[in-house]
Amino acid sequence: MNLAFELKNVKFDYEGIPAVQGLSMQIAQGERIVLLGANGSGKSTLLRLLDGLCFPTAGSLEFAGRQLTEKSLQNETSAFEFRRRVGLVFQNPDVQLFNPTVFDEVAYGPLQLGWSREEVLRRVDEMLAFMSLANIKDRPPFRLSGGEKKKVALASVLVLDPEVLLLDEPTATLDPRSQSQIVDLIQQWKGTAKTVITATHQLEIVEDIADRLFVLEAGSVIASGTPHEILSNGELLLRANLVHAHRHSHGGVVHSHPHLHGHSHHDHDHEH
């Protein structure tokens, strides 16, 4: 089994505050992983560590069997290779859309990596057609809707055909139709060699897009397993602040249980 990523006891501090604490995990190639956690649980930090945008203050992080450190990315060839093989779609698309038009945005990655002009034009046109963005390719980012922005952000990363795709809250703030479009896309990669690691706190989409789940809280993994295992564990989800507790009372007796959708039935005997 080829490992895409291997983390051993990774720690990351930001200005003295620990954001990731003693994290260890193995992610195989072709797996679809979901990092489940509330805001502030460290999942965005973890994605950045995996994308080589920041580096662990302790512990080791390996990508495809090689250590990922600041030094290893200093050499231009290895840096370009890494950037092509791993792509991160940021949570806030405005951050990722910094070029004047949609076309320029999608062409940015290939241009930076030094592809030839013809290659760049060809791949960009293909990607725009694939994501149905061809009719807005000359539009500036401030004239795009939320869903369009997310699609452009995704396209600008996919155009490089990365082996590993890191998605930070891909469906947050999207309307249902755009949300299902993104989910469909991720489902397409099931069984392919593409490794997809998604960070989200939206439980509804998790079953469709994950082979394995990691639940994070305060920078550590508190549980891991298949979607079914995790999603039926109400107490765990409550603890990780992924669901709220639902209370109702009958005749003076208060019942409290995690508010889950269709994953557990709550039978309770009550006396009147």
Partner: protein, 253 residues
């Protein structure tokens, strides 16, 4: 912000300027602006203004837009500035009432100023209306402006809209929470604090954008895709621009 929309509409129309290479448009109109500044005679500047109007009509630029956005505004503002000069400039008096006398030189100088500003503003506006912003940037790149400057220009332009939106949202949020009148010193505080928060967000944004750039392979060098090709008619147009400018300067010396 509305100006941005008008630009896209006009830039898509099939007109004279739109048919030319953006670099030719940029150089040609700039050369004309420079000749406006070099001319010393009213007649030559007026001729250049007429030329600008002709180009505008041929490029399907709406006269209403030009009249409202450029001519009226310039006339009012520059007119206000230039008006006292009619009386203050020493020279041959042609009209006097009270203690003030209008001199011929004063009239001429006011006319020169207003006409110059009008013509230059018309030419610049036509350029911007007929050329998408990205083409202007890429033409500048072709003409030797350093690539980092182009990258900064592009990014700044893009983020101006974002920050303006954020700022107006912040102001609206404050308005909706204010009850009764707010006195000026509180308003002052509010404005500085809004500006402060905006600054913080701006800096935050810049860090994130840098991360996004690095994530897609940025290593300090900016690479752009430029795909302009000069055709025969572009060279002709360029020659015509230079001739017109040169003629005007010669006539107006």
């Amino acid at each position: 912000m509305a100006k941005a929309l008008v630009s896209e509409r006009t830039a898509a129309k099939p007109g004279l300027l739109q048919a030319l290479d953006p670099r030719v448009r940029l150089i040609g109109l700039l050369v004309l602006v420079i000749s406006v500044i070099l001319c010393r005679r009213l007649e030559a500047i007026a001729a250049l203004w007429l030329l600008a109007v002709v180009i505008a009509i041929a490029s399907r630029v709406s006269m209403a837009t030009l009249a409202l956005r450029v001519w009226l505004l310039v006339f009012v503002f520059t007119g206000l500035i230039a008006f006292p000069a009619i009386f203050l400039t020493p020279g041959d008096a042609i009209l006097s009432f009270a203690n003030l006398s209008a001199s011929a030189q004063g009239l001429r100088t006011a006319a020169l100023l207003i006409l110059r500003v009008e013509t230059a503003a018309t030419l610049t506006t036509i350029l911007v209306l007929c050329t998408p912003w990205t083409h202007i940037l890429k033409s500048l790149r072709n003409l030797g402006v350093p690539v980092e400057v182009i990258a900064i220009l592009a990014m700044t332009h893009r983020y101006i809209f974002l920050l303006v939106d954020t700022a107006s949202q912040m102001f609206e949020a404050r308005q909706s929470r204010a009850i009764g009148r707010v006195n000026t010193s509180e308003q002052r505080n509010l404005t500085s604090r809004t500006a402060g928060v905006l600054l913080g967000k701006s800096i935050e944004l810049s860090h994130e954008v840098y991360a996004a750039m690095v994530s897609r392979g940025f290593r300090g060098e900016v690479r752009l895709l430029t795909d302009f090709r000069m055709r025969f008619r572009d060279y002709c147009a360029l020659a015509i621009f230079f001739c017109a400018a040169g003629f005007a300067v010669w006539m107006g010396r």
